[in-house]
Amino acid sequence: MLSTRILHAVWIPLAWAVAAGALLLAGWAGWRAALDRPVILRQLLAGGVVEVLLVVQAVMAAVRGATGDGPADSWTFWGYQLTSLCILPAAALWAFAERTRWSSVVLLVAGLTVAFLQLRLVQVWA
């Protein structure tokens, strides 16, 4: 089906874009952690951009699933997808609560986790 093909053609590059964005965010957070600085608003805005891409990705996956052509292992897929959606908001909440370098370390781990989940998502997607 044509729409499915377009979905495939867009979804996988989008996943890599999310992973790249998450890695950049992780690098930025790691840098701030090394400087002994907490997370700043600009990092949360960057995280927001990644989160929007994640929502777009989830919607596309849902559309694909609705056409009856979802990933073979849909449980695992949605487990990864929903988890990846929750991670950055959780890190953002902690960024407000913890105004020390440890919010940066948490954001670093959050970014790496999101990037890793994208890798797993791409593997399960096919």
């Binding site: 002994d36 449980w75 988890t83 959780a90 370390v105």
Partner: protein, 149 residues
């Protein structure tokens, strides 16, 4: 940062035995990720084909419960500390015993659990995390004869 200064509790508003602030955030965050991963994995395994590897999947379920418990207990701190000690200790025993068994008695584990091969499938995080957790619980232990709450 809660270093030696924070540990003496001169100005810290938190009660003693706090486990979820400062470096503890990292510990809780990594625990939360592992708890979610273990819960999803065991849920899928148990619901889909429990009969394929009953021991491995049952252990996955136990591991998931222990990780969730450890995450909650570490996030709460205070009165939850004993729970955290037990949960994190259980993980250490689990990853060592199951890790060793999965290598020596592979027939018992036709499919992997979170603890197989000492947490190999999860970048050995399951092996390192209990050590970090125990260290952190010890670091944040209440001192100075305060009440055990």
């Amino acid at each position: 940062m809660t270093g030696a200064k924070g540990a003496t509790g001169a100005t810290a508003p938190e009660p003693r035995g706090e486990t979820a602030t400062g470096p503890g955030r990292l510990v809780v965050a990594v625990y939360a990720v592992l708890a979610i991963a273990a819960t999803f994995r065991s849920g899928v395994q148990i619901l889909r084909d429990f009969d394929a590897a009953p021991l491995a999947y049952a252990l996955s379920g136990v591991a998931a419960v222990v990780y969730v418990l450890a995450t909650v207990a570490l996030a709460q701190g205070g009165r939850w500390r004993p729970v955290a000690w037990v949960a994190v200790g259980t993980e250490l025993v689990g990853v060592v015993v199951v890790g060793a068994l999965s290598l020596t008695r592979a027939d018992l584990f036709p499919d992997a659990t979170v603890w197989s091969g000492f947490g190999q499938g999860y970048g050995y995080v399951p092996a390192v995390l209990p050590l970090v957790g125990l260290w952190w619980l010890w670091r944040t232990r209440p001192r100075g004869g305060g009440s055990a709450r």
